[in-house]
């Protein structure tokens, strides 16, 4: 199956955002195409998370427009096409009394709607999602008892269970060791290449973004770079993003 990469899934048009007097984002224009694996990178406090929250309708831009699947976000109603793994998913309350399967069931709730309980087909989809991330065997474990890497897989399964077309991940590997991170990014690559899911990965880790993603957007209040990660290094993008003193240390795998 080939993917039509020219189709726009998300259009960000001249979006600005400010908290009171303080400008967080200025005049951002960005397109996400079907099948893209977009990395959004930038310094802490540069507005990455704010941009994602605006793209998800959690924050309203001060000016500018967002279109999701061709529809103005104000009127957008197909939220089941969108999966979201927030920063908080990584540092959630580990005492929360909930099993792996109960968490992944939540991925189906948006599809089902009010007053409808989950059906057999929902449970089949939950099972398949857990199998895709190799977590079905641990379905009855309390999520707080799992390792950080296993918890991440559960949140991926929860997003997959909603059968979305695009998944947003906000700093998904904070507090996870390098080996687990590599496994995790391997899983994301598989989802992008085999299931043709559009992924939007937010990270402060420029190394991860340049190695893993197919598109890249650098945000520090304004959109500094928006293209191919391979050209980013060639074009001295880092200097523009972080200032002149920074050097990129490449890890050759």
């Amino acid at each position: 199956m080939s993917v039509d990469h020219s189709q726009n899934i998300i259009e960000v048009k001249n979006v600005s955002f400010s908290y009171g007097e303080k400008d967080v984002l200025k005049n951002i224009t960005l397109n996400v195409h079907k099948g893209d694996y977009l990395g959004i990178v930038g310094p802490n406090g540069g507005g990455k998370t704010t941009l994602v929250k605006i793209m998800l309708g959690l924050l309203k831009p001060t000016s500018g427009k967002i279109f999701l699947f061709g529809q103005d976000i104000q009127k957008f109603s197909y939220w089941s096409k969108v999966g979201y793994i927030p920063q908080k998913a990584v540092n959630f309350d580990t005492n929360f009394p909930i099993t792996v399967k109960e968490v992944v069931n939540m991925g189906r709730i948006g599809k089902r709607g009010l007053f409808h309980s989950l059906t057999d087909s929902d449970h089949a989809i939950v099972k398949k999602s857990l199998e895709q991330v190799d977590m079905w065997d641990l379905r009855n474990k309390i999520i707080g008892d799992l390792s950080g890497g296993q918890q991440q897989r559960v949140f991926i399964a929860k997003a997959l269970a909603g059968q979305p077309e695009v998944i947003f991940l906000d700093e998904p590997t904070i507090g996870v060791d390098i080996k687990t991170q590599e496994e995790f990014y391997g899983l994301l690559k598989k989802l992008n290449q085999e299931l043709h899911l559009t992924l939007i990965l937010v990270s402060h880790d420029i190394d991860v973004i340049t190695h893993e993603t197919t598109e890249m957007a650098c945000i520090n209040q304004t959109l500094i770079y928006d293209s191919n990660p391979k050209d980013f290094i060639k074009n001295d993008g880092l200097k523009k993003l972080y200032g002149a003193q920074v050097r990129l240390i490449l890890h050759n795998h």
């Binding site: 959690l58 109603s77 979201y84 908080k88 909930i98 069931n105 939540m106 948006g110």
Partner: protein, 267 residues
């Protein structure tokens, strides 16, 4: 037949107590996990002002308590979600404000001190047959709404942002939860009293949480703890001539300490 069942008030107390014991942890689990435990206490103080109004105007104090807590619960949620006031500050304002109002009302109308004592600390003697019917009907409504919106409540409690992105009307769910809390608080007044309601809503859930089970199992364990505490509390307080509300809450606390110790051992 046991001597205890010959007294009408005991039977009414057990009926009302059982219903309250069933509802309290169902609400409590969502409040505790959302760090909202104090809202129950705030609404209990609001209900005291409502009761004072009821006693002055010679209306059923449970109904005036119900109206005042529901109105306040909606106002607290509005104030909190406006983000102009911190969540805890909103609670502190309502807690102290309504207590002040209650005290002023009580000082205006002298002469209902005995009644008030019963409402403060709970006394099943005050449970009338009409109260049992009201607790039954409203209790059934609370349970029906909790079942109808169960999966949305769980999702919003676990991760409000993701719930919002997946299209769940989070504002509505938040308002629903706080109104149901207001209803539960008002209904529980005759059994455990204003000052101890939040204990019945919070402690059985915190005890069950120590067991580290799934969401559904945590609800079942907190139900068992709550029902056992209320029923045994009514019996013990009757035979030993103790305060009903106080006895019930002390029993929940003993169970909490037991589960807490069990957890320490397994950790």
């Amino acid at each position: 037949m046991l001597e205890i069942f010959q007294y009408g008030f005991i039977v009414r107390g057990l009926e009302a107590g059982f219903i309250i014991a069933v509802i309290a942890p169902l609400i409590g689990i969502f409040l505790v996990l959302r760090r909202y435990s104090l809202i129950a206490d705030t609404l209990a103080h609001v209900s005291l002002a409502g009761i004072a109004f009821g006693l002055i105007l010679k209306l059923n104090p449970m109904i005036t308590a119900l109206v005042s807590t529901v109105i306040s619960s909606i106002s607290i949620e509005k104030l909190r979600s406006s983000k102009k006031v911190y969540g805890e500050s909103a609670l502190a304002i309502f807690l102290s404000g309504s207590l002040a109002l209650a005290i002023v009302l009580i000082s205006i109308a002298h002469g209902f001190r005995v009644d008030l004592f019963n409402y403060l600390f709970g006394s099943i003697v005050t449970v009338k047959q009409s109260d049992v019917y009201m607790i039954g009907v409203l209790g059934a409504i609370v349970i029906a709404l909790l079942i109808a919106f169960y999966k949305e409540l769980v999702y919003v409690t676990f991760d409000e942002e993701s719930a919002k992105v997946s299209g769940i009307p989070t504002k509505f769910i938040n308002t629903l939860l706080i109104i149901l809390t207001a209803l539960t608080v008002s209904l529980a007044i005759p059994v455990v009293g204003v000052l101890l309601i939040s204990a019945l809503i919070v402690i059985p859930v915190v005890a069950a949480l120590q067991l580290k089970k799934s969401f559904k199992q945590t609800i079942i364990y907190s139900e068992i703890i709550s029902i056992f505490s209320v029923i045994s509390g009514i019996f013990v307080s009757f035979y030993l001539n103790l305060s009903t509300g106080g006895t019930i809450v002390l029993i929940t606390l003993v169970i909490f300490f037991l589960t807490f110790l069990m957890k320490q051992k397994t950790d």
